[in-house]
């Protein structure tokens, strides 16, 4: 029975439980309560079961003495706490992921553009590279690099001497480590200031170019500013840099910097493997730019290199950046395969914390939190970059 009101027909007021709005809200409330109840039941079950079996729970173990040594970038010992060990693992993961991201991006960019080359040989090599590496599981790539590196290089007692203090063996690359003297911070300040000045010079040159069309090759000048100023301050403060030289002992080469084979093989494996995916992303981005752009750029007389750098890539980046962030996240997560080769990353250290303490749930939660944290940071950075370079359509 409709009630006609000022030309509008409204449905008759039925019982409140047939009102769709009420129904909608009711279903949502019931669902939320059910999910919360389920979550609460799971948590309660877990805590009760742990208590019944006498398994320790809580995060207090993070302050306990670790009691084991691992070879990490941060200097942790068996006297450090479990928490410090996990942070050392996190640092290892971040460092290897960062360099692998850089390597994968550069390599992927080159291979992706190579796949579109007009040169048959270059194109075929790039295609083979992509097709082979995309189809092998990352763990196998890592193991291959590790075993190949270990097998290819000589043992430490027959290490190759690349220079007076550089040696190469299957235990890693050994090089002198810079030791920063007392006045080194002046050099650093001078370096930063010279960078700012160089950047300002380049901006001025670019603005002048835009306004008057006169070119001013500021590249060499900027480089010169940085190098001269930094070196001048360095010598004025009396050479505050010394080097700690690696020394051969009975078993090993101690001191200096070591690039371990685990780090190197993980880095190259992740870089090379992910580069094959990034190459395809780059290729699809470039193909997404309409061919008319390339033709117009050629008509204007731009060379191939300028064409790619100034016309195609900026437009292709819109398409490339979003899947690229996924690949970066994949690199970070694939770095956990380091457990297979003994690189002390977050998962490897976590395993050695999990077993003596028995607190699997807490350690897994920490893993998830750290990986989530790294991934969120990478995603955020990529989103900001994406927003900045997005072309605003008119």
């Amino acid at each position: 029975m409709a009630v006609i009101e000022a030309g509008r027909i409204r449905p008759s007021r039925d019982s409140w439980w047939n009102n769709p709005a009420v129904r909608g809200i009711a279903y949502q409330v019931i669902l939320i309560v059910a999910i919360l109840a389920f979550g609460g039941w799971i948590a309660n079950n877990t805590v009760t079961n742990l208590r019944e079996r006498g398994i320790a729970s809580g995060f207090g173990f993070l302050g306990q003495r670790a009691g084991f040594d691992m070879t990490t970038l941060l200097p942790v010992t068996s006297d450090s706490t479990y928490g410090e060990m996990l942070v050392a693992g996190l640092v290892d993961t971040i460092v290897v992921s960062f360099f692998a991201i850089v390597l994968a991006t550069i390599l992927g960019l080159i291979v992706g553009i190579a796949r579109l080359s007009s040169n048959w040989l270059v194109r075929t090599i790039a295609t083979i590279y992509v097709e082979v590496l995309r189809n092998i599981p990352p763990l196998l790539v890592i193991l291959f690099w590790y075993l190949a590196v270990i097998a290819a290089f000589p043992s430490i007692r027959e290490a190759i001497q690349l220079g007076p203090d550089f040696s190469l063996s299957n235990r890693g690359i050994f090089m002198p480590r810079p030791v920063f003297g007392a006045n080194f911070h002046y050099v650093l300040i001078a370096f930063v200031i010279s960078l700012i000045v160089a950047w300002a010079v380049r901006r001025w040159a670019h603005a002048r170019h835009m306004a008057t069309g006169k070119t001013f090759h500021s590249g060499w000048l900027a480089l010169g500013i940085v190098v001269v100023v930094t070196l001048a301050v360095y010598f004025m403060t009396g050479d505050p840099l010394t080097f700690e030289v690696p020394v051969k002992t009975r078993f090993n080469i101690n001191g200096g910097w070591t690039v371990s084979p685990e780090f190197a093989s993980l880095l190259f494996a992740l870089g090379v493997y992910t580069a094959s995916f990034i190459a395809e992303i780059v290729r699809s981005g470039i193909l997404a730019v309409s061919h008319g752009q390339t033709e117009a750029a050629r008509a204007l007389g731009l060379k191939q290199g300028q064409l790619t750098r100034l016309v195609v890539l900026p437009q292709a980046l819109r398409v490339i950046i979003p899947p690229l962030s996924s690949e970066y996240l994949n690199i970070t997560k694939n770095s956990s395969l380091a457990v297979a080769i003994g690189y002390a990353d977050l998962v490897s250290v976590g395993n050695n914390v999990l077993n003596p303490t028995g607190q699997s749930i807490e350690v897994v939660l920490i893993w998830m939190l750290f990986y989530l944290g790294i991934s969120v940071v990478i995603s955020f950075a990529m989103n900001v970059f994406n927003a900045r370079i997005a072309l605003t359509e008119r």
């Binding site: 059910a34 389920f38 039941w41 079950n45 742990l50 019944e52 079996r53 006498g54 398994i55 320790a56 009691g67 084991f68 040594d69 691992m70 070879t71 068996s78 006297d79 075993l147 270990i150 097998a151 043992s155 430490i156 299957n170 235990r171 002992t249 009975r250 078993f251 090993n252 101690n254 084979p261 685990e262 457990v339 297979a340 080769i341 003994g342 002390a344 490897s348 395993n351 050695n352 999990l354 077993n355 003596p356 303490t357 028995g358 699997s360």
Partner: protein
């Protein structure tokens, strides 16, 4: 309500009620009898202790303990399913219930007995941590390993013991901690590490898997105590008693001189200790742990006594060539001591 709304609501209600009533507690023995086999956690590949042969069948000293429990419960030693576990997988597997018992050359320590929620059902092998080095290094003692790179399996108490010993002696070293046993051995064999450290029984096994076993020597020092034994969860007393008394039955049988060959004749023995062990006459010690009266007879008939299990898997006639040493019986110069079945 419309018909198409009825079904999902009812289904949801049924699932919710079902989830709430799912966890009625059943003892491990009842579960094992219901499913018809024992789920046993063993090593991924340690010759002599837990190792799959070329057909995938598991054999070894620890494996025989699983088979003994199966023989005691079912009368048949082969009602076992094996879960191969790494150093870092073994404890979560036992904690979560993925395996019923863990016999994987695991050291009995206080934290494993308490904060991990386990309890150890005896010591089946008294051992200690040692070192294996490349013969070409010319090292004769552990203390010479100052500055060396040492490979060790992750998730074990060997990592901790190594750190403790080298700290005590004030020696620096570079640890290389790898999770999978096969990868640890490969890294040591390739020369990435100068030394490999694990329980001495494990060193004997690992040496056999090297490309050239004669290029490696095991150093004489033992740097820590490693009593290896089977572990179970600590929330089921009856299951713990079963595993504990199966271990003791093996030791008691050797002490009393009952072997796989003579066990049938021993059924007619006048020795009351043997009669109690084998469940002859009125004796039914199996009942107190939920097993058959002939539980120990079944064990010895299928596998032999402790000495026979040892000799078959680790003895001087096997490639492992581990002498009984301190794992001999207490009245024979060792410290293995079976608790009386009385």
């Amino acid at each position: 309500m419309l018909k198409h709304q009825f079904l999902p609501i009812v289904a949801g209600a049924v699932l919710a009620v079902g989830a709430l009533t799912a966890t009625a507690f059943a003892g491990t023995l009842d579960d094992v009898k219901a499913k018809g086999f024992v789920q046993c956690g063993v090593n991924t590949g340690l010759p002599g202790f837990g190792n799959p042969d070329s057909t995938g069948k598991y054999t070894g000293f620890d494996v025989d303990y699983c088979r003994a429990v199966s023989a005691a419960i079912f009368g048949d030693p082969d009602k076992v399913k094996y879960t191969p576990l790494d150093g870092t997988e073994r404890f979560p597997a036992l904690q979560s219930g993925e395996v019923d018992m863990l016999v994987r050359n695991t050291t009995w320590t206080m934290s494993r007995d308490t904060t991990l929620g386990f309890t150890f059902a005896g010591v089946n092998y008294y051992d200690g941590v040692g070192f294996m080095v490349h013969k070409s290094l010319g090292v004769a003692h552990v203390d010479e390993l100052k500055g060396a790179t040492i490979c060790v399996q992750g998730g074990t108490d060997t990592v901790t013991g190594l750190a403790d010993y080298f700290k005590k002696k004030g020696l620096d070293y570079t640890p290389l901690v790898i999770d999978k046993l096969a990868d640890v051995n490969a890294a040591y064999d390739s020369g990435r590490c100068d030394a490999l450290t694990t329980d001495r029984s494990g060193l004997a096994a690992n040496r056999l898997q090297m490309k050239n076993p004669d290029d490696h020597i095991i150093l004489p020092e033992i740097i820590s105590q490693e009593p290896l034994g089977p572990a179970v969860r600590n929330n089921d007393v009856q299951w713990f008693q079963i595993v504990k008394w199966v271990s003791n039955a093996l030791l008691d049988a050797e002490y009393l001189g009952v072997t796989q060959a003579n066990v049938d004749d021993m059924l007619k023995s006048d020795d009351s200790a043997i009669q109690r062990l084998l469940g002859v006459g009125d004796n039914d010690f199996g009942k107190s742990i939920g097993l058959d009266a002939k539980w120990a007879y079944n064990i010895v008939k299928s596998l032999g006594n402790y000495g026979e299990v040892y000799e078959r898997n680790l003895g001087l006639s096997t490639p492992m060539q581990l002498a009984r040493g301190i794992n001999a019986q207490w009245n024979n110069g060792g410290i293995q001591y079976g608790i009386p079945i009385l």
